[in-house]
């Protein structure tokens, strides 16, 4: 980060650091703060500096409909985010905002995903529907829609692997390389990733099959499938443009291959 917000850290603050970006949540509700600390225990950060600050207002009667589509818009330098169980806004200039939400980690999780997806897009990175793990100092990503095998490949990971996520992977550029970071965002495994990072070696597009093999993927198809797996919420042309260019840059820097695998641990013999 080139700059960050600095201010006295009140006792009512919980700071969450993911991928080197810190989001501070301010709430007067001690139960909420405890819940957040427990949920993000491996990702708690020092609260002296932050990239984003949010005042949390807990709703007494929130809509329970979390199946609504997320709406994310930017208007006059202010981001607006809304779903059944939360609505939030934050200023691009001050990087401060307010979240009105249900007293649930699910709502907080969603807000964090949106904030990180926007922040990453502006820095040439992205959140991806992908499991990821570090092996031999290198990060491998396993992308795919629900059912493609993200949780399966995560469960099969041998003990020398560090699991970064079984659901949402965090990728950002560092110089001429890309680095994958652990995230607390978990899928069916129900277990947050490790708060570690490593350079991305390969992205595998997952497909279950009768045996293990790796196939090359043409460049254009790689970008198309990459874009299909990138989390992207905002209805903003400039951000769409950035995500598209980031996906193209990434596809030209990092090998993207198809991994057809049978759900057996031996698949990991091909991933080193």
């Amino acid at each position: 980060m080139t700059s960050s917000i600095s201010q006295p850290a009140p006792a009512e603050t919980v700071a969450i650091g993911i991928g080197g970006t810190t989001v501070r949540l301010h709430s007067s509700d001690s139960h909420f703060r405890s819940m957040v600390r427990e949920r993000y225990c491996s990702f708690l950060a020092g609260s002296a500096d932050a990239d984003f600050d949010f005042d949390i207002e807990l709703l007494e009667r929130p809509s329970e409909n979390t199946d609504d589509d997320v709406q994310v818009q930017v208007r006059n330098d202010e981001w607006l985010m809304r779903r059944g169980d939360f609505d939030a806004c934050w200023s691009t200039n001050s990087r401060r905002g307010t979240v009105r939400q249900a007293n649930s980690s699910y709502a907080t999780d969603s807000v964090l995903r949106i904030v990180h997806s926007i922040a990453l897009a502006q820095r040439g990175g992205f959140l991806m529907h992908a499991a990821s793990a570090i092996r031999n100092g290198k990060a491998f990503l396993f992308a795919g829609v629900s059912g493609a095998g993200k949780t399966t490949i995560s469960r099969l990971a041998p003990t020398d692997c560090v699991l970064l996520s079984d659901e949402i992977s965090y990728v950002r550029p560092h110089g001429k390389t890309y680095v994958a970071y652990g995230t607390p965002f978990s899928g069916e495994l129900g277990k947050p990733g490790e708060n570690r990072c490593a350079p991305v070696e390969t992205v595998f597009l997952l497909e279950k099959g009768p045996s293990h093999h790796i196939e090359a993927v043409p460049d254009v198809d790689a970008v198309r499938r990459l874009l299909r797996n990138i989390l992207f919420f905002a209805e903003d042309a400039s951000l769409v443009h950035m995500v598209f260019q980031s996906a193209c840059e990434f596809a030209q820097s990092v090998p993207i291959k198809k991994l057809v695998f049978k759900p057996e641990q031996s698949v990991w013999d091909m991933i080193r």
């Binding site: 043409p218 460049d219 254009v220 970008v223 198309r224 874009l227 992207f232 042309a237 400039s238 769409v240 443009h241 598209f244 260019q245 193209c248 596809a251 030209q252």
Partner: protein, 102 residues
């Protein structure tokens, strides 16, 4: 009005040439397109002021092994298809507004 068709790339798109194919993503609905070589040539020449007939004659018939009548018909269909998706603007008059550049 001289009966000519003018085409211009929409500003609401992101585009990139990769492996000889043009990839285009609509910033409006995130729809993703890939263009083959001939379509890419038309796309790149869509400056808003060159008539489509001249683009086909100069960049398609001049560069690819195709005959003018068929190429012109295919080009008309192509530009109207992209126009329907909002990534190409089509007009009977020159289009002067700013557009996406590579």
């Amino acid at each position: 009005m001289n009966g000519a068709t003018y085409i211009a790339r929409s500003p609401a798109i992101a585009a990139r040439l990769l492996g000889g194919e043009m990839m285009i993503m609509s910033a409006v609905d995130s729809t993703f397109f890939t263009l083959n070589e001939v379509a890419t040539a038309i796309w790149q020449a869509a400056d808003g002021v060159t008539p489509l007939s001249e683009i086909v004659d100069k960049y398609i018939c001049g560069e690819f092994d195709v005959e003018l009548p068929g190429a012109a018909r295919d080009a008309e269909e192509f530009v109207h298809e992209l126009s329907r998706h909002g990534i190409l603007r089509v007009s009977n008059e020159p289009i002067q507004s700013p557009q996406e550049t590579q």
